[in-house]
Symmetry: C2
Subunit: 480 residues, 2 copies
Amino acid sequence: MFKYSLERLMSHKNLCKLSQFRCMSHTPTSIKDVTSGKHQAGDQINIKGWVKSVRKLKEHVFLDTNDGSCSQNLQLVVSKAQLNGTAYGSSVNVSGTLGLTPKNQHELKVEQLEELGSCPLTEGYPYYPKKSYPPDYIRNHLHLRPQVSSLAATLRVRHHATKCFHDYLDRKGFFQIHTPIITSNDCEGAGEAFLVRPANPELLKQMAKKDVPLDRAYFDRLAYLTVSGQLHLEAMSHGLGKVYTFGPTFRAENSKSPIHLSEFYMLELEEAFMDNLKDLMNRIESMLKHVTKSLLDVASEDVAAVRKLTTDSTLEDSFRWLDKPYPRITFREAIDLLEQNRSKLKSPVRAEEGINKEQELFLVSHLQCPVFVTDWPKAIKSFYMRQNPTDPELVDALDFLVPHVGELVGGSVRENDYQRLKAKLPDQEALKWYLELRQFGSVPTAGFGLGLERYLCWVLNVHNIRDVIPFPRWAHNCGM
Amino acid sequence: MFKYSLERLMSHKNLCKLSQFRCMSHTPTSIKDVTSGKHQAGDQINIKGWVKSVRKLKEHVFLDTNDGSCSQNLQLVVSKAQLNGTAYGSSVNVSGTLGLTPKNQHELKVEQLEELGSCPLTEGYPYYPKKSYPPDYIRNHLHLRPQVSSLAATLRVRHHATKCFHDYLDRKGFFQIHTPIITSNDCEGAGEAFLVRPANPELLKQMAKKDVPLDRAYFDRLAYLTVSGQLHLEAMSHGLGKVYTFGPTFRAENSKSPIHLSEFYMLELEEAFMDNLKDLMNRIESMLKHVTKSLLDVASEDVAAVRKLTTDSTLEDSFRWLDKPYPRITFREAIDLLEQNRSKLKSPVRAEEGINKEQELFLVSHLQCPVFVTDWPKAIKSFYMRQNPTDPELVDALDFLVPHVGELVGGSVRENDYQRLKAKLPDQEALKWYLELRQFGSVPTAGFGLGLERYLCWVLNVHNIRDVIPFPRWAHNCGM
């Protein structure tokens, strides 16, 4: 048996050997580093990526290669002898000297080419070269979808947008809270929650207790997937002050709508000591403008690559809303505006039912700007919204509407009057804890929820929400 | 009816009025800004927070106040007349002039005090002043727990740690992917997955299809909560290159262990073109050192505040591991080391069963350092791990062990040989997509998973994992 000693392991010599390991890196150069100018003509580099197109000339072959780091491909110049069957879709490991094309773009004169994996189209690969496919088709092959350039660009934008929201909120002193995914409070679910229980029936039997139905044995009660982290976030704001959650949220709906998913991402924010809609609107407006500007700073190439699939308008034209102050109108004003334009709407205007999607889109297109709608009738809004100090029929709630998707953000000042809240609580027992927040060190709070996918649809001009999330789930669809 | 026109709304005057709103902020000064020196003696400021202690002297009363922004309290100096019943736990809105105590610390000489909410201890408030409570007791009141200073500090550290991981990975060119929470692949679940279905039985009836059992009607199949995002992440790495996921993960276990939860957060990373354990170990070691140094840069006060509850050792002493290279030993070497020290262990050493928690903790304590254990027997590791190129009985897998919690990270190079993987796949039909990644543009990939809560337990010297997550869920426990 190998004789092993602590001394040997921890000896200086051995640790030096370990340190040496640390200096040798096999990491290839990223194409983003090349296209962003971190390397220059004459540099010897190693690239690993996938072949996106092949053009054969007399003596040479040009391979456009992408490694996922950015939208741009790097052109490889390869001799016919080197090529040796490498074709569209293959993965390659190449080394060579960086040069410039006549158009002053980087290209790699390949000295060594190794094919890592081939891509036999005829054995069922769904995406052929030089063909464009409709999103519905692309979506049927979720596991290979990141190999489609526009989808890879969308997912990079999703990463950067998420990062920009986190950065902005951290800078503003908010703490991210992981509100629970599994919850025993379904009171906001309105019958649209998913139930959760162990898949293993033996486990439930082991855990069974007298007086607890077997399907509840794991948590001693029914447990649901969260439909909103807001109420939990309010508890956190009572102690931490400024908090947000940014995670998956669930709805069991039988919907085929292109703006609904069963699993989606929501940014929810709660700010202790905030007691009015004006401050809340300022927070939302300022956040959206800062985050979107930061996003365009780091990802404008990818944003442009996705947008050009559906629109000819330039980034500059498309993002003029970043420099405008947004109109703020009351619900009553919005209804009046809709009534004045009844002839342009297909749906009837009914204040008691709120504002539907067509009407939301009409408002933003008519005002030519994203718009806040405030001061909603209490009958059509949630129990936790604060009664308006001057009109008891209204609540201090807002919707924020944007072109293309309609409602992007919903928010409110929360009811923190103990008696008024108690009278409106939908479930006195399950929400006893929520009421207690108004009993011990109560403070005003206000907050909002913003759908990440809707934000991405808006910014990227994407028409179906299923194409801005890596693994879309909706009625009858849960691939992989 | 109010006559409303677009012209009025969009008029220059109206927009200027809106812009004015934007300048008026009601946001109070944060105590963090005061203690970090952004304000000086003589400044007029407004503070909103909770009273943490009350000391009455002859003429004045000192109130220690906290607003959640940091561990430190701000001392308020209040006259007895102003106090008017305000006591421990109340929330207050105070304005006054910043001054300095004889010990050169900031204090606020209060000119206006408004109590926002009282805190009637006798009506069931669980945390009395000047008393310390065991974690089990504190945890029984999840909704009020952030009002306990040590818990608030823990959650701020959790925020900063999460942020530091995101920042590091973004800098290194990784894209965050939201791998799905609801998945139809339970193959890694090993019988420990949760099932998901709509709570509303009417919805299932509406969605029923011939040949699909009613409990599967929503997704047309059984759907589970994710036990790992790794396989989905591998699909994303085939196109995007460097990716990670950092989200909730689930296990339906009947466990009371202080290092297991039913819902926990895992950072999983996958790097295309990485084909060996050395690079993977360098990635993990470098990430943990950088992230922890960044965390101590931004949150050392909170880290120290939590650690002092369980240890006297200084931050400097506790974090010496940041400057050491970590030993890297093989599984065989680890077993030999354990066998040589059999007398110090309660549990028998059985290579065929792997290394248990006691033995993990022995290894790190014996080596006085976190340690990588590599080259594991294939029989005790997962199907997706690559067969070792020189010994077919081993796989290229690693565990990374740290003091206090044992296994913090598990990782491997993935099997990307089509035939070998096909032979080991646990479910040929459900994992057909996973096999296809090795058929079309296949590349080597390597990756790992790291438990956020275990990382926090380690860094904060917290003994129960339920105290580093805001809403812990485990067997028989799903409060709120």
